[in-house]
């Protein structure tokens, strides 16, 4: 059909349509002029027009129901990993929640799936980020994440604790709990929220139906579905979008929403404080502060923003007259409860309790009949005032909390990635963890440069705060130490150095030169030196710190274990694997003892595995890394960068075994995790990409490898400058790609830069210089520059022999290469010594068809021919042929 014909059909259709039915046929017969097909076409349209029952006459809602909806109580397709589905327990915009059972353990879990994951990356990202949010929240009062994976059709799912319980308010009513019992229950809710905050997660949807009380009387906090939004970060704009779009009242239960949420303004930890205030109000009075039930959304927003709630005491009294169980509280007590509740619910977020901790403190003051802190001056929301007023020793963290929170209270979601990274690194001790949290609660409203720079800005502000704390040198010193370590983790060595020295000075002034606190500073500075490649100084300082700790602390104290582990790490960095193994084993023993820190233990075991790896004992390294992977999954959840590190280590072992396909699997998993955590253009992601690139080279996929590596190199140079081991690492692999492509000049340039960087960073003795030299040796061999090849390869052999061991894999490879350089110069006896030594090293630890072994066999056959020993020559020739056949 063409346009003209269609126009004709329509013309006739419209003219006939208005005629009575019985006249239509005769009209058409006349009009169509015996054109049967035209008549049939028009008539068919008239038929349809009269019936009105096609898809287009149906409501889009019905259509949608059948296409994206459907009922979901049928049997699901597959088991989810080890979980067998029992039934559906919930359904939302994102997906479904099933009740499932883990058959081998008999435990029940809730499984959440993302429906139609194909639809859009932002939905997948939001789903993934809820999972990421939950992963580190390992707390008895928070329903925890167990497992996550996806179905074969790509549907992602995760399994979490299934909580059978009653909403908080219903539980209190049903059990007719007293005010003080209600407050105690409320405190455990606060504890869970506080824990989430300490992991930089704001819940944003706290309400009784998200807080269940189990039959044993313990609470469980659920549903971080909105909280996850803060974690989502695929770019600054998108974050702003998501936040504005998702934080509006629409997704919240208005009754518990704070004014800033109602407005769609930025939220902070005080947003959760507000919702807790409403919950407290309801627990005290059995009523909500505002009756929003018959209001339009706009009216509700206005009430939340402008109306003051009735005092709980009044509300409770009127509830009482409504027949609610009488609770005898005389008026001073109710006055306290009024202040408590209304301070938590203050419309101005800066005048609420500055943290859940502060709120809990006042609840406990109330329970203990002590005066409330909130009485002093509503909330102490100004730092200066607070610090001036509080001369009494308060633990360091709580002052910093108030100080930094007081400055600015907006939690900036844009910081999420940098914050995650810093938190992950800094979460080693509770103090640091707390500190970082406080740091990131201070936010910076102004749009600024890259996220990490903003973190630095916050840290700098933290330093200013610390410097102002002259009145409390003890706390100041601790802060300096903490800040110094955070700067160290962030690679800001200069700032780290000056702060750690300030901490050391303060501690010495306070306690003299020989004290446990001084010891901690020494270890911290020692570890910094190790990353600054001042290894001798590093070892000296850490040893000194360790001895001092042992003197002042019990042998099983976590600080002693940590210092021991630090020494092991430094020894490892020095290439002293034998001693490192001993020291690290000792640290692991201390940390495995009851009361030892599991996270510290996992870190120590990782270093142990690394030592085994560098010493060439891959079996031992593999076993340890697998154990650490399990531990870390328990400790941090499946999406944490530690998991990526473990996977990278496991991949490296597979590569040593030449199982490159397996290595690729590990490397890709690691890259996915890293990228999800840190984002794309991040040095950590670049490092993971470099490692994958390396494996792809081994698999001969050079194009893929090169594009990954180029990208990684530019990210690393951007972040770390031109002279940094991370840059060298990317260069090393780019050089290999160039080499394999026969672009020898390019390869030489890459390897030379790599060598220079390592010399500059690590001094002369590091084995990595040997790696660069060995690579350069290959370039020289390819260019047939045999004397030059001999020189660099000899130096490589020496570096490896000293820094690693004479029997290390790398030493063996370098000797085989050196043997070839000598053979090509027809120096058969010299060549025999090197090739044979290399051959022996490798044949004891490699697969017999190893590439390098074959090179050695080929060369040895030629060498023995040259030496006039045809029997031996034949022997290696036969071996070579046999190996090549495989």
């Amino acid at each position: 059909m063409d346009r003209a014909h269609w126009d004709l059909i329509q013309e006739l259709f419209h003219r006939a349509a208005d005629l009575p039915r019985d006249q239509q046929i005769s009209f058409l017969q006349a009009a169509c002029n015996n054109d049967e097909s035209l008549l049939n076409d028009v008539f068919a349209l008239l038929e349809e027009d009269s019936q009105q029952n096609s898809l287009l006459d149906r409501n889009l809602a019905q259509v949608a129901q059948h296409v994206v909806g459907g009922s979901f109580s049928g049997s699901p397709p597959e088991a989810f990993g080890p979980y067998r589905i029992k039934r559906i327990i919930g359904e939302g915009g994102m997906g479904l929640v099933y009740l499932a059972e883990r058959e081998d353990l008999g435990t029940e879990v809730a499984i959440k799936i993302l429906r139609d994951a194909w639809l859009s990356p932002s939905r997948r990202e939001r789903f993934a980020s809820e999972q990421r949010t939950l992963a580190p929240l390992n707390h008895p009062f928070i329903a925890r994440l167990y497992d996550a994976d996806s179905l074969s059709d790509g549907t992602p799912w995760f399994a979490m604790e299934y909580v059978e319980g009653v909403p908080l308010t219903e539980y209190c009513k049903a059990h007719n709990l007293s005010i003080s019992d209600r407050l105690k229950l409320f405190c455990s809710v606060c504890e869970a929220v506080k824990f989430a905050h300490s992991h930089a997660v704001i819940h944003r949807d706290l309400k009784p139906s998200n807080i269940l009380v189990k039959s044993d009387g313990t609470v469980r906090l659920l549903d971080f579905g909105i909280a996850r939004q803060l974690e989502t970060l695929s770019g600054p704009t998108s974050q702003a979008n998501l936040d504005h779009t998702m934080t509006g009242l629409r997704l919240m239960t208005p009754a518990y929403a704070s004014p800033e949420q109602a407005k769609g303004a930025r939220v902070g930890i005080q947003t959760d404080v507000y919702s807790l205030g409403v919950i407290l109000y309801e627990l005290l009075t059995d009523r909500l502060p505002f009756d929003l039930s018959n209001l339009t959304p706009a009216e509700a927003v206005s009430v939340i923003e402008t109306q003051d709630p009735a005092k709980p005491s009044l509300s409770a009294r009127s509830a009482l007259s409504d027949g609610v169980q009488a609770r005898v509280f005389d008026s001073p007590e109710w006055a306290d409860l009024d202040v408590l509740c209304l301070t938590a619910m203050h419309k101005d977020m800066s005048r609420r309790y500055a943290s859940v901790e502060a709120l809990t403190r006042d609840v406990n003051h109330f329970l203990d009949d002590e005066p409330l802190e909130a009485h002093a001056d509503t909330v102490r929301y100004r730092v200066g005032k607070f610090v001036r007023r509080n001369r009494q020793p308060v633990i360091a963290a709580s002052i910093v909390l108030a100080a930094i929170v007081g400055l600015t209270i907006f939690f900036t979601a844009r910081l999420a990635i940098a914050r995650n990274a810093a938190l992950a690194e800094a979460a080693r001790t509770q103090r640091i963890q707390r500190f970082t949290l406080n740091l990131f609660q201070g936010g910076d409203e102004a749009a600024g440069p890259a996220d990490d720079l903003k973190v630095v800005a916050l840290l700098d502000r933290g330093v200013q705060e610390a410097k102002a704390l002259d009145a409390d040198p003890e706390m100041q010193a601790q802060l300096y130490q903490t800040l110094g370590s955070v700067y160290h983790k962030m690679g800001k060595f200069e700032q780290a150095d000056s702060l750690l020295h300030l901490a050391l000075e303060r501690h010495k002034q306070l306690h003299g030169p020989d004290h446990a606190d001084v010891a901690e500073d020494l270890v911290a500075i020692g570890l910094l030196r190790s990353d600054q490649a001042e290894l001798e100084e590093s070892e000296r300082l850490v040893r000194q710190g360790l001895e001092m700790s042992k003197k002042h602390l019990p042998a099983n104290h976590p600080t002693v274990a940590r210092a021991t582990s630090a020494l092991g790490l430094v020894l490892e960095n020095r290439g002293n694997y034998e001693q490192a193994l001993q020291v690290l084993s000792e640290a692991a023993r201390l940390e495995s003892a009851p009361g030892g820190d599991a996270a510290d233990l996992a870190a120590t075991l990782t270093e142990l595995a690394n030592c085994h790896f560098y010493a060439g004992d891959y079996e031992a390294a593999d076993a340890l890394n697998r154990r650490v992977l399990e531990m870390d999954r328990q400790l941090y959840g499946p999406g944490h960068p530690h998991i990526a590190d473990d996977l990278i280590n496991l991949g490296a072992i597979q590569s040593q075994w030449e199982h490159y396909k397996e290595a690729e699997v590990f490397n890709r998993q690691a890259l996915d995790i890293t990228q999800a955590w840190y984002g794309k253009d991040n040095p950590e992601t670049a490092s993971a990409a470099t490692i994958l690139g390396r494996t792809l080279i081994n698999l001969g996929r050079l194009d893929e490898a090169e594009s990954l590596l180029q990208q990684a190199l530019s990210v690393q140079e951007h972040f770390y400058g031109k002279v940094h081991p991370r840059v060298a690492s990317a260069l090393s692999d780019l050089g290999k790609v160039a080499l394999q492509r026969g672009k020898l000049e390019e390869a030489r340039a890459d390897f030379t830069r790599m060598e220079e960087i390592y010399r500059e960073v690590y001094g002369e003795k590091h084995y990595l210089i040997g790696v660069a030299l060995s690579n350069l040796g290959t370039v020289e061999l390819e260019e047939k520059q045999y004397p030059r090849a001999e020189t660099v390869l000899r130096e490589a052999v020496n570096k490896f022999t000293e820094a690693l061991s004479p029997t290390h894999f790398n030493t063996g490879v370098a000797r085989i290469k050196l043997g070839r350089a000598l053979l090509r110069q027809r120096r058969y006896s010299d060549a025999e010594a090197e090739s044979l030594a290399g051959y022996k090293v490798l044949s004891s630890q490699s697969n017999p068809s190893n590439l390098w072994l074959n090179y050695a066999r080929e060369d040895l056959a030629a060498i023995y021919s040259g030496l006039g020993q045809p029997d031996k020559a034949r022997q290696f020739q036969t071996e070579l042929t046999a190996s090549a056949k495989k």
Partner: protein, 192 residues
């Protein structure tokens, strides 16, 4: 008028309606449209008597949510509705296609409860795919009519809005709609 820039018609064309559209904004449009659709579907299923949501309300809802956020996905509400209609169409077609594929591949994640529902759902999915194909054919014959059907059926535009969008009189909209609807209904039957 903004609509003049649109390439009307072809259903297989991805949502590249404006060259300079922010990809992320479109992604969000998709997500939110989808979630609204699901909400719509579930109110129908529950037989919720207060469920007043229709495509018009749905698209308005999506508009409200998106208009507060970041770079504008569209220059006006009408422009937006046009884009949303396209998004809705693509979404339903893609969902129908995948549901169908899932059944064949045996990895269907979701199974309706009753036989009736199964048949209805399968028929609707087929219909949506057939409508998509028929709309493409219509776009070849008469692009304006195809755009009109898409906007009205998938985007819930009312007569005056459609007239404004297409820059034609309301009477023309009514005429075109009637003819196009009858023609599409017949095409749908032919496919069965």
């Amino acid at each position: 008028m903004a609509s003049q820039n649109f390439s009307a018609g072809s259903g297989s064309e991805r949502l590249a309606i404006d060259g300079h559209q922010d990809r992320h904004a479109l992604d969000q449009l998709f997500s939110i449209t989808y979630e609204e659709l699901r909400r719509l579907a579930s109110t129908v299923r529950r037989g919720d008597p207060s469920a007043t949501l229709n495509p018009t309300a749905l698209v308005n809802e999506v508009w409200l949510k998106l208009s507060h956020s970041g770079p504008p996905v569209a220059s006006s509400q009408l422009h937006f509705k046009r884009i949303a209609a396209r998004a809705m169409r693509q979404l339903l077609v893609e969902a129908a296609r995948r549901r169908g594929a899932n059944k064949r591949g045996g990895v269907a994640a979701y199974t309706p409860v009753t036989l009736d529902e199964t048949i209805m759902a399968a028929a609707t999915q087929q219909d949506v795919l057939a409508l998509d194909r028929a709309l493409e054919e219509l776009a070849r014959l008469h692009p304006r009519q195809a755009l009109m059907v898409e906007s009205r059926f998938f985007g819930g535009l009312d007569i005056p809005e459609t007239a404004a969008l297409l820059d034609i009189s309301e009477a023309t909209v009514l005429r075109d709609w009637r003819a196009a609807k009858a023609w599409l209904a017949r095409e749908l039957k032919r496919e069965h």
